[in-house]
Amino acid sequence: MNTRAYDVVVIGSGAGGGAVASGLAPLARGGYRILVVEQGARLRDEEFTGKEAEMADALYEDGGGFLTADGAMTLAFGRVWGGSTVVYTGTSLVAPKRVIDGWRVPGLTHADVERRSRKFMDENGVHFLEPDLLNENNRLFVEGCEKAGFRAEQFPLNLRGCKGSSLCNLGCPNQAKQGTHRVQLPAALADGVEAVTRAEALRIDGTRVILRVSAPAPGEKGEPSEWAPGEYVVSAKVIVAAGGSIGTTALLLRSGLGPSLPRLGAGFTCHPAHILVAEHGRPITNDVGHPKSFFLDRAAEDGYVLETCMYFPFITAKNLTGFGAPHATLMRAFPRLQMILVLACDKAVPQNRISVDADGKAVVRYAFTKETVASLVKATRAAARIFFAAGALRVHAPSADPPLLERAEAGAIDARVSERHFRTGRISVSAAHLMGGCGMGSSAADSVTDSWGRVHGRPGLFVADSSLFPDSLEINPYLTVMAVADRAAERIREDAGALLGAPGSAR
C-alpha cells in the first residue's frame, strides 16, 4: 500500500472543494501541505467537444443517468475536475433570507452567507448577459411571463467571453464559464495546493483517507492521474469531505460514522424537475446563445421556480412523455421548440434519504410527497400559460394525458394538467440540485455538523458542500455551497494552530 502524508486533504473539487482549496491557499503558502482529491479526470480544453453522449460520459456520474432507488428520478451530478461547476449553467443567485433563516442553524446568518456569496460573485465575474447575446428561447419566456402576469428575472451569470454555444451542461467548449476548475482551483494550485485526480475516496479511517487511483480506460477523455494507479493511505490532520450531497454522505456512511451520527443520510432534497417543451410556428434561436438567462421565482408563494433552458436531442427526447409518431413529430420540430425547466422546491422529509448498499455504493431513496407533486403541477400550469402567451402552438406537459396541449386548449390548462397524471415510471423527472445528507445544526441529535461544517464529535473532520443544507435551498445552489465551504475553510485557518500544528510536520 502506498502512503502519503498531508496536513489537510480536501475530497472533491466542485463548488465546495474548490472554495475550500482556495480558502486554504494561505496555509499552503505558509508551508502546510494541502491535497485536493477528485474522483473524475482533468479534461484538456480541446476535449470539450459539445457532443452529447461522449461529454455526458466524461463529465457526469453514471453518464448523468444515476437513478433513485425506485428508478423514478434521474439525478445528475458532475464527476470531473471542477465537479458540477463544469456542467452547470453559471447561474449565480444569493440564497434568500427566508430560506437561511428557516434553516434555523445556530451560528449561521443570512448576512454571512450573502457576504461570502458576493465575494465569489466578484471573483467569478458574475454579471447580467448583454441584451444582444439573449436568444429567442429566453426572450419568449420574458414576453410570455409579462403577458401571463408574471415577472421574469434575469439570472446573474459567471461568464467571461461567452460565445453562446448553448452547450453549458456539456462543459463549456470555450472555457467561458467560471467554475472552480477555471478560477479557484488554478489559483490554489499556483499557491502550492496539490491535486490528485482519478482518485476515489473509498473511506475515511480516523485520520487517514483510503484512496484508489485509476488509470484512464482506453479512449477515455482526460489527463492521466498525477499519481500512479493503485491504492493509497493518505494521512491528514484535517479531512474535508466535499464530494457533494451524495458523494460525501456515502463516504461518511462507508467510513462507519452512521452509528454515532443518526442524522447522517437524512434530509435529502433535490428540486425535482420537468423539462417542458412548446412548439412555435416558426424557427426560433434556441440552440445558440446562453440557455438559462431568465427565471420566475414562485418558491415562496407556490413552491416552484421556472427557468429557461435548452437541452440536447437525447435529453430532450428522454424528457418528453410517450414514444412513436407523436414523439418523433415533436422532435422533428426541434428548431421551433421553446423550453422551460420547472423545478419543485421539495422539503426534507424522513423517507427521503441517502444510504449505501453492501458494496458501499450510494443509494438514494426518494418518494414524491403530495406537496412536491402539487408544486410540479402548479409550475407546469404556469409554464403552459407562459408558452401560450408567448405564441406557442402546442405545449408538451408531462403531467397531462395526452401530454400535448393544443392552443385551443389554452383555456383548459387547469383541467388538462393534473396531479392524477403524475405517474412515476411513465413521466421523466430529473434533478440536479442535490442537497442534504450531512445537515448543519447544533448537535448529533439533530444534525451531522455544526454551522462551520465540523462533524459533531470529530474536530478534524469537516464537510463543505451541499450535503450541509438542512433543507431545500429553493434556488440554484452553487454560490451558497461556496459560501458554506468558505466558512469551513475559515474555521480551519483560524484553528490551524490547534488542528495542524506547525507547518512542515506532515512531511
Binding site: 459539445g50 460520459d57 452547450l167 437525447f314
Partner: protein
C-alpha cells in the same frame, strides 16, 4: 455483445419507439447499438441481465393476446403493446419500459446524423457561426 441474443426484438422495439429508426441501414443500426452497449458497459451485471430478460419478456408477452411474438406484430399492434407497458399498473413494468425507451432515444438521437436531421445545430462557435 449484450444485445446479441435479443437483437431482433430490440430493433423492433427501437423502430416502434422511434419510427425513423426503421429506415436505418446496417451502419446506422450499428452506431445506435454501439451507443447503447457503451452506456450499459459499466452497469452492474444484474442490471444487464434484467434488461435482456425484459426484452425477452416483451418478445413473448404478446403471444397471450395476439398469438405472435412482438417482432411479428404489425406496427400498430407493437405500439398498442408498448403503450400498455408504459401505462401498466406495476411501477416495475413502467420503469422497465421507461429505461428501455431511454436507451433507444440515446442510441438514436445521440448520433450526430439524427441530431442534424431534426435541425439541431449547436456548436462551439455559437453566435459567431449562426450569424455568419
Amino acid at each position: 455483445m449484450l444485445l446479441d441474443p435479443v437483437r431482433a426484438t430490440f430493433r423492433a422495439i427501437a423502430a416502434t419507439v422511434v419510427p425513423e429508426a426503421s429506415a436505418l441501414d446496417d451502419g446506422g443500426w450499428g452506431a445506435l447499438e454501439a451507443l447503447v452497449e457503451k452506456t450499459l458497459e459499466p452497469r452492474p451485471a444484474s442490471v444487464k441481465r434484467q434488461l435482456v430478460l425484459f426484452i425477452r419478456t416483451i418478445e413473448h408477452l404478446p403471444r397471450l393476446r395476439w398469438g405472435r411474438g412482438f417482432s411479428a406484430l404489425t406496427p400498430d399492434e407493437r405500439t398498442r403493446f408498448l403503450s400498455g407497458l408504459e401505462r401498466a399498473p406495476s411501477l416495475l413494468l413502467r420503469r422497465g419500459f421507461w429505461g428501455l425507451r431511454t436507451l433507444v432515444f440515446l442510441g438514436y438521437y445521440a448520433r450526430p446524423e439524427a441530431a442534424a436531421a431534426i435541425g439541431y445545430r449547436a456548436e462551439a462557435r455559437g453566435w459567431e457561426a449562426r450569424r455568419a
